[in-house]
Amino acid sequence: MADTMELRDIEVWDGNMAASHALRQVQVDVVAAYPITPSTPIVENYAGFAANAYVDGEFVMTESEHGAMSCCIGASAAGGRVATATSSQGFALMVETLYSASGMRLPIILNVVNRAIGAPLNVNGDHSDMYMGRDSGWIQLDAYNPQHAYDLNFIAFKVAEDHDVRLPAMVHQDGFMTSHTAQGVHTMTDEQGFNFVGEFKPMNDMLDLDHPVTHGVQTEEDWHFEHKARQQHALMTAVIPKIEAAFDAFEALTGRRYNLVETHQMDDAEMAVICMGTSVETAMEVVNELRANGIKAGVVGIRVFRPWPMEQLAAVLKDVKAIGTLDRSSPHGTMGMLFNEISGSLFNTDTKAVLTNYIYGLGGRDLTKAHLVGIFNDLKANMDAGKPTTPLQQYIGLRGPKLSFF
């Protein structure tokens, strides 16, 4: 039996520490991991818990991220609670196995501390790794601060392990900006945290020796399509209601409210920026200042990145006249992901907002309040003109001549 840890109601934790404690409190059975900046402290903290009897599961330090996720898959198929953490290049190395985990319907929790992907090599936060995961069939939740990184882990386990879902889930936080920035984090007791998620309920477990199962079969053109369709069906229909139920239950327990799509000052907003991660909180501050000057600006933050909350976004953006989508990942040959996803979400609706795209913050470059004020100035001009007054895709915070496309 693992020892209980007495926590203060508010602990000063960075995002990594917050995630580590969540893994400790849900009493993960197997953590197989490989350290990589900036998620390394999650693994180190957890190792510390293991060394001091605060966890009694197995802690496996593998030879690579690919090995880590491979072990996680074997462990999860065997039948128990499984989690790990990674970032960036390590995430990229895992990608093959991410598809295996979701295709085999294994509820593994992966904490992704978002970081740029080289070349050129970079250790700082951007969303390249998070974007890379978006077709892998995982649920993806996005934290904007250490509190979220803590809370969303509990949500992730509760939803992923539900027998109606049985899909793996990622909890994302921004490298360094969240992972290494200490803030006050409201805690649950160990008992509260564990009970929120509950005992792991095995399903199709290899270790049930009376019921042998075969996992990871071959399917060709006569079966593959049906299996992938079944997976998509679960992701598209089962997950959102379960996440909403988990958000409700979490609010009832802690008073902290989460939504599929987070909004700030959107009720009467004429223009909005849409972004993810720590940028959401920066944008909220800017909007508060603009509101003081009578400018009806708002912020939309993506909380559930996959499955994509298309209907909720369309509803939130129904009445806005100009939208700026902020992508923290190099789009490499097209518009930013958020531009494209939001376009798709609004195309068949009555919304006629002018939509533009900003690429920002690559490799950990700061997004300043001044940048956001400039973006809102653009949006105001677009709104007044009823059409784009700027190129559709602009790079902001970049040295050298102004860079834009379309």
């Binding site: 199962v213 399917t219 079966w223």
Partner: protein, 138 residues
């Protein structure tokens, strides 16, 4: 097995070998196992064969070389005796015939359509060799 639609099978393309629970599988013979329709035991590869092995009990010494070296679990051994061939799973490789040490062989390959009684009637007689094949005692 019927090709079910996308909502007609278990998640994760997971397969179960048996219907219900099974204990002591390592000591339960195939005839006493409740194989599910997902076990390849329920399928047949008989149509792979061009030639089939036939078994002549009269010459068999139950050495079990054919059992141990059969790649397709198709030599049926019960109570330490060779009792026959599983023609649903035999692919006709002919290993059993090659490893059979008796003289004449107790297993021989015949065309797939060959009648078993006729084959037994035509079974070759003991071959004169300089020295009879010695069977290694195991």
């Amino acid at each position: 097995m019927e090709k079910a639609g996308w909502d007609g099978f278990e998640i994760g393309a997971m397969l179960r070998t048996f219907d219900g629970a099974i204990q002591n599988i390592a000591t339960t013979l195939p005839e006493d196992r409740a194989y599910s329709q997902s076990s390849s035991f329920t399928a047949s590869v008989a149509d792979w064969r061009i030639e089939k092995p036939l078994f002549n009990k009269d010459y068999c010494i139950d050495c079990q070389f054919c059992w141990i070296y059969c790649p397709d679990m198709s030599i049926i051994a019960r109570d330490k005796k060779m009792v026959g061939i599983d023609f649903d799973h035999c692919k006709g490789c002919g290993i059993c015939v090659e490893v059979c040490p008796t003289n004449p062989k107790s297993l021989l390959m015949f065309p797939e359509q060959k009648d078993e009684d006729m084959a037994l009637a035509e079974w070759p007689k003991k071959e004169k060799k300089e020295k009879d094949t010695e069977v290694e005692e195991d």
